[in-house]
């Protein structure tokens, strides 16, 4: 297995005027190419902080991260599409900002849009798209800069249950297709165990890794099909018990 991201002894402390808050205490993790990793934990445990650090938006207080020269893509909870740009321009945003807008890269984005059913909407504005299409646009915007690792911060939690199942299924297929590595932060255990092959349970603050589960199903199943597997319930109960409930 090819190691593409190594997290070594990360800690993070926040300072406020009143006191200091230890958000993360000594987290180490190795991510291999093609891994689909879920990070779950009680609310406010520092899951998003960990993602922000991985995404270089925040500096860890101590510890180090080795990216092995891989590119990180970041997908947020809300699709955050710019409603003054059409679908194509929204997807090209990352390339424009990072000065990588070449003919080939543009064609790559157009191909992605065509491949994932948005070909007819290239010139549409986000206001005219359904929630599921918006998510796919947001995903393609993230994929445009050709990241090796996708960080996803509760990407489906703003959706209603029905579209959530369909869209997470879509996203799963797209990422598998494009051979990406995913780190998914979620509070939804069922989402974690149907989409990912590894689930990391964080403790309450200051959070550290409590347990790592490898998720395997008997056969090749789509995320939606996995919900019917007997293993689904087993994993669900196992992890549910492991998460600290206040």
């Amino acid at each position: 297995m090819n190691n593409i991201l190594s997290i070594k002894n990360i800690t993070k402390t926040y300072h406020t005027m009143k006191d200091e808050i230890k958000a993360i205490k000594d987290i180490s993790l190795d991510v291999n190419e093609g891994d689909f990793i879920a990070i779950v934990g009680p609310s406010g445990c520092g899951k998003s902080t960990l993602l922000s650090i991985l995404n270089k938006q925040e500096e860890p207080t101590s510890g180090a991260i080795d990216y092995h020269n891989r590119i990180i893509g970041y997908m947020l909870q809300e699709d955050a599409l710019f409603d003054w740009l059409n679908v194509l321009d929204n997807c090209l945003l990352g390339l424009r900002i990072t000065n990588q807008l070449t003919k080939e890269n543009k064609q790559y984005v157009i191909d992605l849009l065509n491949k994932y059913g948005l070909g007819d909407f290239i010139n549409s504005y986000p206001n005219n798209l359904s929630g599921g299409m918006r998510k796919r646009v947001a995903l393609i915007r993230t994929l445009a800069i050709k990241p090796d690792i996708l960080l996803m911060d509760e990407p489906f939690s703003a959706l209603d249950f029905q579209s959530r199942l369909n869209i997470s299924n879509d996203v799963y297929n797209i990422l598998k297709n494009e051979n990406k590595t995913m780190i998914l932060v979620t509070h939804d255990i069922s989402e974690a165990i149907t989409l990912c092959s590894k689930v990391i349970v964080l403790s309450i603050r200051p959070s550290h890794i409590k347990q790592i589960y490898n998720i395997t199903y008997d056969q090749e199943l789509s995320p939606i099909e996995r919900r019917n597997s007997h293993l689904f319930n087993e994993y669900y109960n196992l992890i549910w018990k492991e998460i600290d409930h206040e």
């Binding site: 995404n55 270089k56 938006q57 990180i72 970041y74 947020l76 909870q77 809300e78 955050a80 710019f82 409603d83 003054w84 740009l85 945003l93 990352g94 424009r96 900002i97 990072t98 504005y125 206001n127 800069i145």
Partner: protein, 263 residues
């Protein structure tokens, strides 16, 4: 199209015409009543004027070639102050956004200047810049630009946090953040501030013309009141109504044009 839908559309249209007719009727009745009441000497046309006198006055202004000079002066000054205020508002708001430290430092000063009734500065401006058009325009810019700076700056600051996060995940450059998100995301806000700016500029110009001027609609009104010629005052007010509405719709039209291009 179904029968019901046709009926519905007809009813909508009918309601609309009804509204137009009522609006027009109110205007006509008001004018006629005003004229009749002054003709019957129930109200004194010397202090309230009358529609006939107003038309006569405007015609006199027209035949002495002064009408359009006054209208032109006011519109010209208003547009100049509108453009400068808009630019000032956008530039200052951008600087404040770009340098959070500066914005924190100047915040109390902005609050003071904003809450100060700018007319109070009229005499000072008069002394500094003399009885000139410049004074009038500076007066108007003072009145309209401060509000704009604050409004546009608040718009810059209220951009969706997740969108900022998205850009920050791609670049550390604040200039790029401004160029790709903060400014384009605020164009609707800036455009809706155009309407505020045009009204405020006109208010400022009229104030300025009250204080110091030899032409313009504000001058007409002020001069009329000084020589107790209420016909002239009322004519000025009517002209001002027309100018204000025209300018407002001009900006409104620009706004609509913009909305059409993005949707």
């Amino acid at each position: 199209m179904s029968k019901e839908h046709k009926l519905f559309l007809r009813k909508q249209k009918k309601d609309k015409y009804k509204m137009y007719i009522c609006q027009l009727l109110i205007f006509i009745i008001f004018i006629i009543a005003w004229q009749i009441l002054t003709d019957l000497k129930i109200i004194d046309s010397f202090i309230i004027s009358s529609p006939k006198n107003i038309i006569k006055t405007i015609y006199q202004l027209y035949s002495s070639n002064n009408l359009f000079i006054h209208i032109y002066t006011t519109i010209y000054e208003t547009i100049i102050s509108f453009i400068i205020s808009m630019l000032l508002g956008i530039i200052v708001a951008s600087i404040l956004w770009y340098f959070p430290f500066i914005s924190k430092v100047v915040e109390p000063y902005l609050t003071v200047i904003n809450s100060l009734p700018k007319v109070a500065l009229g005499p000072i401006i008069l002394i500094w810049f003399g009885a000139t058009t410049t004074s009038i325009i500076i007066m108007a810019i003072l009145i309209s630009s401060i509000v704009l700076m604050i409004n546009i700056y608040n718009g810059f600051m209220s951009i969706d946090e997740t969108k900022i996060k998205l850009i920050k995940s791609l670049t550390k450059s604040r200039t790029k953040l401004f160029y790709y998100l903060i400014f384009p995301g605020n164009i609707p806000n800036i455009i809706s501030n155009l309407k505020i700016c045009i009204s405020m500029s006109l208010i400022g110009i009229i104030m300025g013309e009250f204080l110091v001027s030899k032409k313009g609609i504000g001058y007409l009104i002020m001069y009329g009141s000084q020589v107790f010629n209420l016909d002239l005052v009322m004519s000025g007010v009517i002209l001002l109504c027309i100018v204000a509405t025209t300018l407002y719709y001009l900006v409104y039209y620009i706004e609509k044009r913009y909305e059409k291009t993005t949707h």
